[in-house]
Point group: C2
Amino acid sequence: MKKAKAERLKKSGWKVGTAKEFLGLSDEEAALIEMKLALAKSLKDHRIAHRMTQIDVANELGSSQSRVAKMESADVSVSMELLVRSLLVLGASRQEVGRIIGRKKATSAAYRPS
Amino acid sequence: MKKAKAERLKKSGWKVGTAKEFLGLSDEEAALIEMKLALAKSLKDHRIAHRMTQIDVANELGSSQSRVAKMESADVSVSMELLVRSLLVLGASRQEVGRIIGRKKATSAAYRPS
DNA sequence: TGACACAATGTCAGATCTGACATATAGTCG
DNA sequence: CGACTATATGTCAGATCTGACATTGTGTCA
């Protein structure tokens, strides 16, 4: 998010920051969630890059469309292990998975406190 | 394992190679197991480096001595997620976890086929 | 040898995860 | 508008994981 936009939102009574700040997560919880988000994004990027549907991917993984959707959105019901296993099945190397997990990628957003 | 020792064992009717070869694992299964082994080793290395017992680590993690032992031996009952969560709680960064997972580390051993 | 500290192994109830199914939502084309 | 395709969401039975406990090695010290 651009600096200017963040300032504008703050003045309008919005809170701006990371999910960690919103939810009051510990550092470990935040790191784990960031890892999962990065893995989920890679999974989706791979699917898009190969012009596949979630059903295609599900078949390749031996899973279902709904589970693939949950994987791509890093749903709470999806473990890190499932994400990594899936990437491996789709052809990612151990090194690539390591890079995805370690890559720092700040995310930011805004919400209006009730 | 040293090259010379491997040769010597082969001549004595032993099989020499990786766990993947022994067990006939798929590439994905082998990669996942290698990742878990690397994480498990890091966990143990960290404990030893800090001169802690498994009970100490268990207390820090909110777990039990037996589970820590299983983690360090990459027992089948231990998920990758538990290993990563534990490393994070012990102070590892997301980047460090990524490096551990991506680091290539060939392992080799021998066994006598029955 | 026994006593002690630490690590490994087996088991299991309760917690969590997963594939599958149903259903809902969103977008596109006629 | 309806028909169709793709994705998202809710639910749940069965599978897997996890903390805890008991027990079994294993090494060390006297």
